[in-house]
Amino acid sequence: MRDLTSPAVGKTSPAEAGSAHSIGVAHVGKRYRTETRTVDAVRDVSFVVNRGEFVSLVGPSGCGKSTLLKMVAGILPPDAGTITVLGQKARPGRREVGLMFQTSILFPWRNVLKNVILPFELFGENTDEGKHKALELLRLVGLEDCADIYPWELSGGMRQRASLARLLVTEPDILLMDEPLAALDELTRERLEFEIARIQEKLKKTALYVTHDIKEALILSDRIVVLQTNPGRVTGEVVADLPRPRRPELIDSDEFAHKLKEVRDLLRL
C-alpha cells in the first residue's frame, strides 16, 4: 500500500515531472467568445496528477474548473498549451478514462444495470462480460437490489451511486469527476464523500475531481489545486496529507481545520 501520509506526491511542476504523472496540464488556456466580448475561461493553467493520486480542482464558480475537466476528457480542445493523459494528447473515447458528472446521466428507458453497462456498448465491447462486472460494482456501491429497476425509481443519492458504478465498470485507470455530489442534500453528500474515499483507498485510481466544496475536497484528496476567477488560474496547491483511511471523525480534527484554513487562504488571494 502506498504511504499516503507522506507528501511524496507534492508540488510537482509539469516541467520537472517525468513520465510519473498520469495527467499533465501545461500552460493551458481557453477562451469563450460571446457576442460582446471574449472571456478567458482559463489562462496559463498548469498542474499534474500523479499515478494513483486523487487531486481536486477547487475554486469559485467561473474559475474554469469544469472547463479544465472537459479538456482533460478530450471533449473540449484547449486554445493554448497542452494536455496529456497517460503520455498521449487528451482525446475522447479512451478506454483508460472514466467519467462522472454532476447529474447522474442515467437514461430513463434503461434499467440500472443497462445504464451501468453503457460504456461497454460505446466502446463496442461485449456487454455480457460487462454485466458481471456491473453487478459486482452495484454491490460495491450498495445497489445490489436495484439492478432491474429504473433510474426514476431511485433517490438522488442512489442515482449518483449508480453513476459511480458506471464510472468504475470499465476499470479505468483515470477517473474524471465533475462535481458529482453537488446536487445532493448535505447528509447524503457527506455519506457519499466517505464512500468515495473508501472506494478510492481500495482501488487507488488516478483521479481528477472538480468541486467548489473545500471540505469535500479535503475528505477525498491527496492534493488540492486551488483556482481563481477572472481569468481562471491556479493560485496555489495544498497537499492534503491527512491520515487514511478517511473517516467521519476526521472532520472534527485540528489538522483538518488547519488544512481547511490553508485552502481558504489560497481562495482569498
Binding site: 471533449i75 475522447p92 479512451r94 446521466i105 437514461f107 430513463p108 453503457l118 433510474p151 426514476w152
Partner: protein, 285 residues
C-alpha cells in the same frame, strides 16, 4: 450547518401539506363528493338530451334541422344492424389509420432529416412551414383528381393533414436532446450513430407521441373531408348521402358513431404510448 436549520422546517411543512389536501377533499365533497366526476356528466347529459327532446317534440325546431334525440338513438340501433354501415366504418378507419401511418412515417423521417442536417433545415424547413400555411383540406379536390375516387385519395388526404404535428414534435424532440448526456457519451467515444440510436431516438420518440396523438385526430378529419369531396364509401360519404335524402336522424347517428371512432382511435394510441414510452414523464437526469 444547513441541515440543522432545515430539518425542523421540513417537519413543520409536512402536516401543513396534509391539511391542505384534507381541505381540498372536504371542498370537493361539498360539490358531489368522490363520485362527482361521474354524476355531473350524467346530469348534464340528461338535461341537454331532455331539453332537446322536449324542444323538438314541441316543434320549436324542425325535425329536419334538429332530429329528436330519441330518433337519433333509434337510428343508431338501426344502423348497427346494417352491414353497409359497418362497411363504411371499416373504410373510414382504414383510410384514417393508413393515412396516419403514412403521414407519421413521412413526418418522422422528414423531421429527423431536418433536425440532423443544417442544409436540410435551412433549405427545406421554410417550405414545410409554408406548406403548413395552406389549409390542407383545400387539397382534397386535387387529390381526387390525382388518386381517384377510391380510398387512396383519402389516405393521401389524411396523411397530408397529419404529418406536420409529427414533424414538428420530432424536430423539437431531437433538438432538445440532453446536452450533458451527449457530451458524456462523446467522452466515451460514442459515434454519431450511437448518440442517435441510444439517446436522441428514444428522447425524440417521447415527444413524437404527442404528435402521433394530434395526428390521429387530424387524419380522421382528412379522411372525412376526402370522402365529402368524392367517394362512394365511408362514414363521411354516408353522412352526405343521409343528408341528401333528408334522413337527418341517421346522419346524426353516424356523427355520434364518428365521435366514438375518433375517441377509440385516440385511446388506442394513448394505450400504445403507455406501453412503448413506459418512462413517460422522466427524462435523462
Amino acid at each position: 450547518m444547513r441541515t440543522t436549520s432545515s430539518t425542523p422546517i421540513e417537519f413543520e411543512t409536512e402536516p401543513n401539506g396534509r391539511q391542505l389536501e384534507g381541505g381540498d377533499a372536504a371542498y370537493a365533497a361539498t360539490r358531489g363528493g368522490r363520485y362527482g366526476k361521474f354524476i355531473w356528466p350524467v346530469v348534464v347529459f340528461v338535461l341537454v338530451v331532455g331539453a332537446g327532446e322536449t324542444l323538438t317534440r314541441a316543434e320549436v325546431f324542425n325535425r329536419f334541422i334538429l332530429p329528436r334525440p330519441s330518433a337519433i338513438a333509434s337510428a343508431m340501433v338501426e344502423l348497427a344492424g346494417e352491414s353497409f354501415f359497418w362497411d363504411a366504418v371499416r373504410v373510414t378507419v382504414l383510410e384514417t389509420t393508413a393515412g396516419w401511418a403514412l403521414g407519421s412515417i413521412v413526418g418522422f423521417i422528414l423531421g429527423a432529416a431536418i433536425a440532423s442536417s443544417t442544409v436540410l433545415r435551412q433549405g427545406l424547413y421554410p417550405y414545410v412551414v409554408l406548406f403548413q400555411g395552406l389549409p390542407k383540406v383545400a387539397l382534397a379536390p386535387v387529390f381526387v383528381v390525382w388518386f381517384g375516387f377510391g380510398i387512396s385519395s383519402k389516405i393521401v388526404m389524411a396523411a397530408a393533414i397529419c404529418f406536420f404535428p409529427l414533424l414538428v414534435n420530432t424536430i423539437s424532440g431531437l433538438d432538445s436532446v440532453n446536452a450533458d448526456a451527449k457530451s458524456f457519451m462523446e467522452a466515451y467515444g460514442a459515434s454519431k450513430r450511437h448518440v442517435f440510436m441510444k439517446l436522441s431516438l428514444p428522447e425524440a420518440l417521447t415527444s413524437a407521441f404527442a404528435g402521433l396523438k394530434t395526428g390521429m385526430s387530424f387524419a380522421l378529419v382528412g379522411a372525412i373531408v376526402g370522402e365529402f369531396v368524392g367517394a362512394q364509401e365511408g362514414m363521411g360519404s354516408l353522412i352526405a348521402t343521409f343528408n341528401f335524402g333528408l334522413q337527418v336522424d341517421s346522419a346524426f347517428a353516424v356523427l355520434v358513431y364518428l365521435t366514438l371512432v375518433g375517441l377509440i382511435l385516440y385511446l388506442a394510441i394513448e394505450w400504445l404510448e403507455q406501453k412503448i414510452i413506459f418512462w413517460r414523464g422522466h427524462g435523462v437526469a
